[in-house]
């Protein structure tokens, strides 16, 4: 049996750990509220943008001749996966879930003979994926230095992706991130970024088609092509931005739950250790008493 001093030290160290996990939980809870707020505020924009593109696509006069960002470049040989994860650990299975989803996608795509490239956002995903797919990683971005997420970050990433698409480095681009449902549930999802049409088709199955224009025809200012040229890159940026915000909310939610569990486990451990400590102390006192009594009797 461990000595009293050893037990005391262990209780002390578990108590310290509990303090840390409790602090982390509270920080995560505060950040979660902010992140959730930001994610929810960004939703109307991305929803509306999706709606507008859907409208445009459905009323487009010549769908096949549309911009490549919308209809694709006719090939599907190389697929680039944009995997967005968190930069920090200690948030339960959050990062692992995203990475697992990414690996499932990679395996499925490679099975069907496609080439897969990886564009990684976030350090944790990079750490986990580089062991298996190091030579397929074309880009890695860490957002650790950014104090808060703003649209500019997504713009930079979006510009990079668009430039790579225009340079013909890939044919299809998919975005993998964690959709924030609530604090307990985050689901890793894959969304097609390029061509935008593919994603719209998926969305169109759930929703009804765009608003009924009563047969009226859209007026474009300046013109359809000009608008699409600006709108499509913006759509990519927005999708990335939304993904980053959802991810952040998910990370914080996941971290909060993980740290809550850790704090509770530490509490249980402290209870157990305290019980053992008290028992050991009692046993020691008893054995000391016995020694004294039997010593007195021997006299």
């Amino acid at each position: 049996m461990a000595s009293l001093k050893e037990l005391k030290n262990r209780i002390g160290s578990v108590k310290n750990t509990q303090k840390i996990t409790r602090a982390m939980q509270m920080v995560a809870a505060a950040k979660l509220r902010k992140a959730q707020d930001a994610a929810e505020k960004s939703r109307p924009y991305s929803d509306r943008l999706g709606g507008i593109i859907r409208n445009l696509a459905s009323s487009m006069t010549d769908a096949a001749g549309g911009p490549e960002l919308l209809v694709g470049n006719g090939k599907s040989d190389t697929v680039m996966l944009v995997v967005a994860t968190a930069d920090r650990g200690l948030c339960g299975g959050f990062n692992t879930n995203i990475v697992r989803k990414a690996r499932e996608e990679i395996v499925a795509l490679e099975k069907s003979g496609k080439k897969v490239k990886l564009f990684l956002i976030g350090k944790k995903g990079y750490d986990q994926l580089k062991r298996l797919y190091e030579d397929q990683i074309v880009e890695f971005i860490s957002l650790k230095e950014e104090r808060s997420l703003h649209a500019g970050i997504a713009q930079d990433i979006g510009a990079k992706i668009t430039a790579m698409f225009e340079a013909g480095e890939f044919d299809i681009c998919k975005l993998i991130f964690s959709e924030f449902e609530n604090v307990m549930t985050q689901t890793a999802v894959a969304k097609t970024l390029i061509p935008a049409m593919a994603d719209l088709d998926e969305a169109a199955e759930e929703e009804t088609s765009g608003p009924d224009l009563n047969g009226a025809i859209y007026t474009y200012e300046p013109d359809e092509a000009g608008i699409l040229r600006v709108l499509l890159p913006r759509n990519i940026n927005t999708q990335i931005f939304t993904a980053l915000l959802e991810n952040q909310a998910g990370e914080m939610g996941s971290k909060m739950t993980a740290m809550d569990n850790a704090t509770r486990n530490a509490g249980e451990m402290i209870d157990k250790l305290t019980l053992t400590f008290n028992r050991t102390r009692q046993a020691q006192i008893t054995s000391e008493l016995i020694e004294i009594i039997s010593g007195a009797e021997a006299l």
């Binding site: 509306r48 943008l49 507008i52 009226a216």
Partner: protein, 129 residues
């Protein structure tokens, strides 16, 4: 009761306005557009400038930078790249934006330069107005 226009102004960061109004003036790239209820479907790109919302005799102004206006029979949606109430616009940060736009203009040509020039003009107009 007269018809009302269902107007919403959203930026990537937040939904700034949603509700029914009488009229909205939008700075389009091809010129200002006044949108009244039952406007025909329109999709317009927006330049830097001010959106004016008229409702019940009051005027509210919003500063917008880039984006789109989408008019459907359901109403008007403005998707702005950047947007804020005119009251929150800070002259100093605008001046910094102007300086940045001037610097960016030098390296551009063709259509991009035109867009940047429009952005610059809009910023200048807001500062002086």
């Amino acid at each position: 009761m007269a018809d009302k226009l269902n107007f919403s102004l959203v930026s990537p960061e937040a939904e700034l306005f949603a509700g029914e109004v009488d009229q909205v003036d939008i700075p389009g790239t091809e010129g200002n557009v006044g949108v009244l209820p039952n406007h025909s479907p329109l999709m317009a790109a927006i330049r830097t400038g001010a959106i004016t919302v008229y409702n019940e005799g009051t005027e509210t102004q919003y500063f917008v930078q880039g984006g789109f206006a989408d008019v459907t029979p359901d109403g008007l949606t403005v998707l702005a790249e950047k947007a804020m109430p005119m009251a929150d616009v800070n002259a100093d940060s605008l001046k910094a934006d102007i300086a940045a736009a001037e610097a960016a203009l030098d390296g551009l040509e063709g259509e991009a330069a035109l867009a940047m020039q429009q952005n610059l003009d809009g910023l200048r107009a807001v500062v002086s107005g």
